[in-house]
Symmetry: C2
Subunit: 247 residues, 2 copies
DNA sequence: TGACATATATGCAAATTAGATATATGTAGT
DNA sequence: ACTACATATATCTAATTTGCATATATGTCA
């Protein structure tokens, strides 16, 4: 970034409220699948607004930091995680979403494998793994319910319930035309595991042969020839996600 | 918004760069269909970065202004338009997207009927109606080409070509599962007009009976019993968009 | 060795979609 | 008034996709 000019020289031409700028933050929906249910990692607020409530981990965007970089940094700092599927979700900019001051929040969706989810919990024991339920309302889904490990309903801080709702609906919407599901699975997985992930996100059960056919026809799955181990019955073949050559 | 506390009391606890905040702007993709092709309204930059280039109309977000409100204001001020379908698109936050200073831009997609598009042009003659082409690349689409009325290729200012590209791809993606197409049509329209809009956005031609069936089965169309006039052949029935009762 | 649980494969009916074709209905010209 | 014409609208059939049931395969474990 070029800071050669004196900012004030031109800011006034463009931005009458240049010295009353909103702050910009990123908030992360750290999503994984646990026990075949969607789960998010939350942090407990210990300060003024909504103190004691659970919230999405977030942080302010540095003046010389790209949005994606800020999201990656929060992922690193708050979840101790080097990498994860990270995609921008939506930007929340209601004036009073934070009672302290004007904060515009760019929400990101981070998809974690079960391993990564648990690793984050170990690295940051203060994180709460909360189950997420998305009721079926009018063909898509309604506002989410967030449940603590003890199955208590949680009220999230700020507008974080809205953010989480949007994350879940977005995930549902993208599920069958994109490759997001694979971000929730380990390198090698069985078709059953893939179906479990889909069912967890959709909150519905799917027809097995049809699901299998669709997935295989997609051309994204590469059979490894290896099989799962430890099963008390016939083991399933392990597949690997391989983005199609055309894309 | 509550400004009761002195901001500096708590900002420092949360934001180490509190006094070096990015500016937040909104940029609008004002999109309509002209001559069965997608078109956007652009403004000419007369100042420093990218002076002379065409850009998306935009404006800074006021400290006490919601993001959606800022977008609506820009729509009003820059396009002289009271209302239009307005939806948030994506937030662009690369550090060097503006060489002057750090500006995070929340892009909005505004869908205009042909009438509204022309009205904006009359109200603000400085606006340029530019045609947009989205080449088919790998199943979805590639970077857009923007053409002036004289068919010259235009290079947009800043990262506005990226914004426009995302707008077009988003529109394509939503076209057949959402009701966006109706935002581009007048109150009353024929099935042919609806199909024309779809074809313009997809950049492909569709099968007529199949399209007709799908649209009618959706339950969003209400036949009026009235027919178009002025056609030199059999006039088509006029339909009205009626959101389904379930949603 | 056989019960068992699940993976995998196959088959078929139902539903959806694509495409072609036929029919209807307005305008415009003679 | 009649006919050509262009397009709307309706109908029909084949192809494709999907849902679901059933059959077969293959591992563990008692």
């Amino acid at each position: 970034m070029v800071h050669a000019m004196n900012e004030t020289d031109f800011i006034k031409d463009y931005d009458p409220s240049a010295f009353q700028r909103p702050s910009v933050a990123v908030d992360l929906v750290l999503l994984g699948i646990r026990d075949n249910r969607p789960a998010v990692l939350l942090v407990k607020r210990d300060q003024h607004p909504h103190a004691g409530r659970w919230a999405l981990p977030g942080g302010f965007v540095g003046i010389d930091e790209a949005l994606d970089a800020a999201a990656a940094r929060v992922l690193r700092e708050k979840a101790g995680m080097a990498e994860a599927h990270l995609e921008q979700l939506y930007t929340f900019g209601a004036v009073d979403r934070d009672p302290r001051m004007r904060i515009i929040s760019v929400a990101y969706l981070a998809l974690l494998t079960e391993r990564a989810f648990d690793a984050a919990l170990s690295a940051k024991p203060a994180l709460l793994p909360a189950a997420v339920e998305v009721p079926w309302v009018g063909e898509t889904g309604g506002a989410v319910n967030v449940l603590s490990p003890e199955n208590e309903a949680l009220t999230l801080a700020f507008d974080h319930a809205d953010i989480l709702t949007m994350a879940m609906l977005r995930l549902r919407g993208k599920l069958d035309y994109s490759d997001v599901a694979f971000a929730l699975l380990p390198e090698l997985f069985t078709l059953r595991q893939l179906q479990d992930v889909h069912e967890a996100i959709l909150g519905a059960s799917l027809n097995k042969p049809a699901f299998r056919r669709r997935q295989l026809d997609r051309g994204w799955l590469k059979a490894t020839g290896a099989y799962e181990s430890g099963a008390a019955f016939r083991p399933a073949e392990l597949y690997r996600f391989q983005p199609s050559t055309a894309d």
